[in-house]
Structure formats: structure tokens, C-alpha cells
Symmetry: C2
Subunit: 507 residues, 2 copies
């Protein structure tokens, strides 16, 4: 991208403007990271205002008509370049983002930003006190604002489509409904079969595991799996997440439950998957809109690939279990690898999405996805949401939440100011994790043997080469086709589930 | 400030603009804090750029002609108010800051910002490798830029005056030279007298003190002295500092040397003094330019008052020493309070300013102050600085640095892009700490007895009432007169030194 700068001053100007916006957004991300990790409680009020200010400045700088003019002026230049050249891609992605940003009035953004803070604060109080009534009026307003937001993008087939598009560009409600229906049809009989058998005993995970030793072990795993601590760090938060301030600074957080070893272990590997994606982006994209994962679904495919297809595999623990036993001799010294492996892959009908196993997880997601669509369509009122939620848990998972805390209040997503487009990425990610992993194994069958020997470098390099380095140069659709030679499909995931759980249960 | 907002829309608009700028500056401060505490090394390059971007945006928003017009339009309103009303003060302080900011061209600011990063990075390498030659060309440029900066404020008496004014509004080189000469005349004979006596044995401080226990103890001290952890926290950094992102989030950092107990102890109390000032500001000033300490000297007076007049006093340790002994029974169990008290107040001719005792500290500062003036005047070339530095250490402190690492390279100040105005605040702070403390004792003689009983609340409340709450509503000159009924004087400090050290040494 160096040579071009000499010959195309308008691209240089565009890049300077985008870099400034990128810097402001990075600052906002750090403010958020700090809020979740180290900020004292007294800082909260000002922090909310500071975040809103930065978001407003970045939005206003990005929607400056001068940016639109530059993008327009650069059209002939862009068309003179190969579609997948870095320069053409940068202009194309910037234009796509610009066309979204410019349709949403600054006044609406300010209103949404204010509402976001209020509804989140209401949820923080409502969740532990099991009070849906507290958040109900906020959720009504969230629904209104989400509809208003969607309506800035007229011409949609389904009102959720523009909202889905923000996170998973090119996906539509109609396609997802049909995809998810197929998936449900495959999964429900598997869940039925498994849950009619005696449950796996996972008590070995629920002994006392001191926090400090758990954290130590997660750091060792991160190091060995190729997370670059020179360009990242891990801290503790209530809800684990990954965030980044540059390609050189990609951080993750984890949480530790002293009576549940799986929490820290798998949330660390999960967030590491997100982080490997961001750490693997071409360094030349620094400060440009290309320096980001390409969609919610593809991002989640990486967290789930590492967490589940690698991190919950027998091969992986074949190598790492002795290390884990050495870290916790009193707790695991007498526990066999087989017992441990079964425990971390226990399947059951449960209430909490983030704690769900691989087999039932997507059923949790689909419930939320469907309820989002119904609310947006107007066929479900906010006031009826808890009842609809519980009814779906009964019908799909055969279990009913005793409280809204464990029901409709459990996930933060709707309480961050948007209904619609918030959940499909999780299931897309699960499907893609299997589809990508199959493609990797086809290219390098030795990956499975490498993993058994604690070597994930072949897999990591393949992912870097095929996915990570490109940032968001390619759309998810383009990327999936390029990497797997096919479009998004449910079959690899179903094959994976049948193969793995067919060994753990009778299917 | 509530009622006014209804009647004076231009003040409301001014406050909204200033709050936005305040938010950007707070974000920049957090980026800096993170850089010093938790940022992985890979984040450095992007972080420098992000900081420069935020500074550029905040400067450009503040120097927007619309701000100048608002300030002009508000003149009649301001004149209709009492001088020390919050509204008049806000307008006055904003105008003073505006008139400084608007004189410095954005292009110069960008150039300075770039140079700052480069010179700092050069120093980071040069200091440990004892290589003045590495930083010399950068320092030449720093001198040029500092002169250029001063020359944006023509009409000065001495070229350092505008630079001094940034940190200590209203102070002039001529006044400071004469004040410092008087101080030196008083101090030199005291130093002579003390250093001709056998040195105090401070070996009790140089045993092994494990880091974790030292940090624990500093946290206990902070809690008991009234630092509000709900609105702050303490972390570790290479160089301790205080920073704040709102009145509700005022953080400090400390450093721990396992073989030098005094480092963590006194840098914690020092930074706490800065923090109590910022935590004590009237909460109604949040988001306005009034929410800041009023000058470098007054700020330093608070860090030094708590560190030295309180934290190195016999009364203070009369209460806290048993707690310290309980924290370190093996190290201090057999050491008497008297031995400990003497150790923490040992006076000696030393090379490093930040490690210097109360008696010699100002001699270190004055050397730097004089050298700054000489460089700006052109009577000292940058290339001759190390020699001039060493010669002054010989003449003033009777000791010559063996290396530039312990000499001219020891302080970061000149390597942050400015020569001039960087050091006077330390000595002003020492003088004012004694002057304010005397005034407090005159108002509340019981303060000394309270401190002996571990009670600093009377002193803290007096400081809040007289100094902290006002932020920078009053200039340092106004504040000193208001609080002490006199102008800045050296006598209280000399009285304090003579009284205290007359008991430790024969004077």
C-alpha cells in the first residue's frame, strides 16, 4: 500500500481521515476495557459521558461529506484495481461502512447512545433482582428504536434484515430461518437421544480449584497455543470478552469460578480464538477499516473452533491433561483422562446459553433469534416476552426457567439498546467452525496428529493464511467460498456432532 | 450553577463545548495511564498515534473561533457576576486557557507532538546506556521548539516566563531567581552543618521487604489517610504518578523496591497528596476547566505536605509505626521508633533528585531551574549541558555524578519536549507545603495531636475547605493570599526545616 500513496493523493487523504477515526474508536474501546476491568465505581458516570462523546465525534468525522466526496472521487481509481487488491478493498469496505453510517442521523445516534446507558443500567439492577418489570419500559423503547434504525434502510425484505446486516453482512432473516429450521430438525433428535441416557458425571470439575492456580494454567495454555503476549494480555472481568486497540494490542478477559474449572478454561480459549483472528491480521492494515474481523459469524467461528473443535477434543487433552493434573494434583491426580474428557463434554437440557454444551447451544440461540424477529414483526409484545421465552424453553429444551434471572434477563444483548441481529452470529459461528475445521483437515490431515502432540501451529498458520490475515477484505460469503469452496452449510457441523457425541453417547 | 443554565444559553453552550473537550482529554489521560500500567509492548506504536490524535482533536475543538466568540459574548454577563462566583470563574479560567491555546498554531502543536514521542524514545534508550550523545540532537531541537513556543507569547521579560506561566501562572523568572537565591542562602549552611556530622544509619530501611506486603501496607495507609478507593485505585508503574479522568476517578501509581522500604511508602503518600487535591474538588465542577489543581506549585504543595510534613513526622509514625512493625515483624520488630524516624529523615549529599531528602531537595531543583534559564537565554549550549550539570553538583552539593545516567539524564522532564518551566513547581511546592501547614496549625492547633493519634481528618477537611474544593477557581497567588493571609514566602519552610532537623542534628 506504500507505492499507491505517492500516486493517489485522494487515497492518502482518505486513509488519513480513516486513521483518525480508527484512533478515536480505539480510545473508546480502551475506555470500555478499563470500565470492565479496573475502573473504580466512582468513575462510572463520567465514563458513560466520555464514551458517548468519543462515539459522537467518530460518527461525525466519518459522516463528514468530505469522506463521501473522496469515496466518490476514488471510484475510477478503485475500478482500475483488482477487486482483491488491498487498495480497492480498503475503498470498498470504507464505502460500505460509510453508506451505513451516513443514513443514521447524528440526533438518532445521540438518542440511542443515551438510551443504551439507561437500559443497561436498568438491566444491571433488574437481573439479580429478577425484575422484568424494571426493564420492560426500556425494552419497549429499545424495540421502537430498533425499528426506527432498521427503517433508515428501506427496501428490506424483513425488518430485521438491516440489523442482521450490521453484524453479518449479506445475511437475511428468510435465509437464516430456513437454515436454522434445518439445523433444529437435525439437532432435536440428537438431544432427545442423549438426554434419555444416564447423565455424565462431571463432578470432577466441581471441586475447589483456587483462582490463582486456574489463572496460571490459562496463561500457560494461551502461551502454548500461540497467543502473542507481546501484543496482548489477559485480565479478569465479570463477562469475558476480547477487545483490541491496534493489531499490536489485542486483549482478552476471563472469569474464574473456584467451583467450576470449565469456566476459566474454556472462556479463556474462546476469547483467545477471537484474539488470534485479530492478532493475525495483516500488519499493513493497521489504522484502516480492513483491520477487523469480517463478520460476527466468522469471528465466532474462530472462538468456537478453538474452544470446542480444538479445546474440547480428546486429542488436545491427550497432550494437555497431564499438565492440568500437575497443576491440580489433589483434584485431578486420580481422575482419568477419559473421565475428564467426558465431563467437559457433558450434554444436558440447561437454562443458561453461555453454559450450554455444543449440542444444545444452538437451540438456545435459535430461541432468541426467533423471539427477536417476532418482536420486530409485531407478533410478540414486549410484555409477553417472558412468557414466550419460557414457553420456547419448554418446547425446545424441555425445561422451564424458574425465574426471569435465569430466563429472559440472562443475556445482556437486548439491554444494550438493540433488538434484532444480536444472536444469529453465535450459530453461524458454530456452523462455520466445523466447516472451516473440515477444510483445514482436508488440506492438512496431520493437524489432528499435531494437536495430540500439543502442536497447533499447522492449524494456526492455515487459519492465518486463509482467514486471519485478510481482516475484512472479503465479506463472510466471499471468505467462506474462498476457504471451503462451498457456501455456508450445516452438514459439517452435524457430521462433527454425530461423530464426536456418537462416541460419548449411543446415538 | 444550575439556575444560570436556564437564563444564560451562551454559558450553557460554552459548558457543553468545554465538557466535550474535557471528555477527550480524559480519554487521552486514560490512554497514558494504560500505557504506563498494563499496555503490552506491541501496543506502543499505535498508542503514540492515538494520543497525538486525541490531543490534536481537543486542541482544534478548543481553539474553534466559536469558543472565542462565546467567551467574548459572555463578557458582560461575567462582569455582572461576583468575581469568585462559579460562573464568572468558569468563564475567566476558560478564557485564560483559550488565550494560551489559540496563540499556538495547530501545525506547531503537531510538530511538537511528533518530536515529543521521538525525544522520549531516544531518552528511554540513552538513560540506561549513559549516552548523552544519543539525546543531544533531540535536546537541541527541544530547545529550538521551546524558544519558538515562548515566542508565540511576545512581550515577556524573560524568555522562560511564558513557559513558567503554563505551569505556575503569574510566576516570573526574575522573581523566582531572587526567591531561590534567598532560599539557597538559608539552605547551604544547614546542609554544611548536617553533612559535617556523622551520617544517620538507615540500614533498617534496606533489609528485604517483600513486594506484596509493601503494597498491602500502602493500601492500608491510603485507606486510613482518607484516600477514597470508591473514586480511585493504586497500580504499579516505573515512575509513580497521579492522574484523573473525572472527580470520581482519581488514580495513583507507586513503585516498590524490595531493598528500600522508603520508595513505596513515600511515593504512595506523595501521590496520595496529589490525589486528595483532585478528589476534593467541588463535584459541581465536573467536566469544566475548574476541575483541576490551580498550579504546579500548589499541586506539589499537597503531595509534599502529606509526604513530608505529615508522612515523615514523628507524630505520624508514633501512631503508624506499630502497624508497620506488625506488617514486618522480622525486619522491624527490634527496631525502635526513634531509629526508624531518623532513618526516614536521613540528610545527605546525593545525586538523584527524587531520592533526595527534604533539606537538599531544593538544591537539586534549583540547579535544573538555573540550567533551563541559561539554555533558553543562550548562555549555555546543549552540548555543554553535562559539564555544566556536573559542575553545579560539585559546587552546590559537593558531589559529582560518575555517569550522565545519574546526572543530566536522570529526569524525564527535558526529554518530554520542553525546556523551561519544568522544575520551579517542585520548590514552590516545598515552600507552600510549609506555609499552608503553618496556616492549618494556626487555625487548628489540635491537628498535631490528632496526627499522633492517627487522625488526619481535621487537616484533610481544612485543606478541602481552603484549597481542594476550589479547583482552579483561584490563581495560585489568590489562593495563597486567601489561605495564609500572605504572599508566597520562604520563612515557614526554613522554620520547619530548622525546627525538625535541629532535633535530628546539631544545627
Amino acid at each position: 500500500m506504500q507505492t499507491i500513496e505517492k500516486t493517489e493523493p485522494k487515497l492518502l487523504e482518505l486513509k488519513a481521515r480513516l486513521a483518525e477515526i480508527h484512533d478515536i474508536e480505539a480510545a473508546a474501546s480502551l475506555l470500555y476495557w478499563d470500565q470492565a476491568t479496573y475502573m473504580p465505581p466512582g468513575g462510572a458516570a463520567a465514563r458513560g459521558r466520555q464514551l458517548a462523546t468519543l462515539q459522537q465525534i467518530s460518527h461525525s468525522k466519518f459522516t463528514d461529506p468530505a469522506v463521501g466526496e473522496l469515496l466518490e472521487d476514488l471510484r475510477p481509481y478503485e475500478e482500475s484495481l483488482a477487486y482483491d487488491s488491498d487498495e480497492a478493498s480498503l475503498i470498498r469496505v470504507a464505502r460500505r461502512n460509510y453508506e451505513i453510517a451516513v443514513r443514521v442521523p447524528a440526533k438518532f445516534m445521540a438518542q440511542l447512545s443515551m438510551h443504551r446507558t439507561q437500559t443497561y443500567e436498568a438491566w444491571v439492577v433488574a437481573r439479580p433482582t429478577n425484575s422484568f418489570a424494571t426493564v420492560e419500559p426500556y425494552l419497549e423503547k429499545t424495540l421502537d428504536l430498533s425499528r426506527e434504525l432498521a427503517n433508515f434502510f428501506p427496501g428490506y425484505e424483513h425488518i430485521a434484515d438491516p440489523l442482521i446486516d450490521f453484524a453479518d453482512y449479506g445475511m437475511k432473516a428468510s435465509f437464516l430461518r430456513s437454515l436454522f429450521a434445518d439445523l433444529r430438525n437435525e439437532l432435536v433428535p440428537i438431544v432427545e437421544a442423549i438426554t434419555s441416557q444416564p447423565p455424565i458425571n462431571d463432578s470432577c470439575l466441581h471441586q475447589l480449584y483456587p483462582e490463582a492456580q486456574q489463572l496460571d494454567f490459562t496463561l500457560k495454555i494461551l502461551e502454548q497455543l500461540g497467543y502473542d503476549f507481546h501484543r496482548g494480555r489477559q485480565d479478569k472481568t465479570h463477562h469475558p470478552f476480547m477487545t483490541n486497540f491496534s493489531i499490536g494490542d489485542v486483549r482478552i478477559t476471563t472469569r474464574v469460578y473456584e467451583n467450576d474449572l470449565g469456566q476459566a478454561l474454556f472462556s479463556t480459549i474462546h476469547e483467545m480464538g477471537h484474539a488470534l483472528y485479530e492478532q493475525g491480521i495483516n500488519l499493513e492494515y493497521e489504522g484502516t477499516p480492513l483491520a477487523a474481523g469480517t463478520s460476527s459469524g466468522v469471528h465466532e467461528s474462530q472462538s468456537r473452533l478453538w474452544e470446542n473443535l480444538v479445546g474440547r477434543s480428546l486429542g488436545f487433552w491427550n497432550y494437555y491433561y497431564p499438565q492440568l493434573q500437575a497443576a491440580f494434583p489433589a483434584q485431578l491426580g486420580e481422575i482419568s483422562l477419559d473421565t475428564f474428557y467426558r465431563a467437559i463434554n457433558k450434554v444436558g437440557r440447561s437454562l443458561i446459553r453461555t453454559d450450554a454444551d455444543e449440542v444444545t447451544y444452538n437451540l438456545h440461540v435459535m430461541i432468541r433469534f426467533d423471539l427477536e424477529l417476532q418482536m420486530l414483526e409485531g407478533s410478540l409484545d414486549v410484555k409477553d416476552l417472558p412468557e414466550a421465552w419460557n414457553e420456547r424453553y419448554r418446547s425446545d429444551l424441555g425445561i422451564i426457567p424458574k425465574t426471569d434471572t435465569d430466563g429472559v434477563l440472562q443475556d445482556v444483548h437486548w439491554y444494550t439498546g438493540q433488538i434484532g441481529g444480536m444472536f444469529q452470529g453465535y450459530t453461524l459461528g458454530n456452523l462455520l467452525s466445523a466447516q472451516f475445521f473440515e477444510a483445514a483437515i482436508l488440506d492438512h490431515p496431520e493437524i489432528l496428529i499435531d494437536i495430540e502432540q500439543g502442536q497447533c501451529i499447522t492449524l494456526h498458520n492455515w487459519l492465518k493464511d486463509k482467514i486471519y490475515q485478510h481482516g475484512c477484505k472479503y465479506t463472510a460469503t466471499e471468505l467462506i467460498r474462498g476457504v471451503t469452496g462451498a457456501s455456508l452449510r450445516i452438514e459439517p457441523f452435524i457430521r462433527y456432532i454425530r461423530r464426536k457425541y456418537g462416541q460419548l453417547y449411543t446415538l
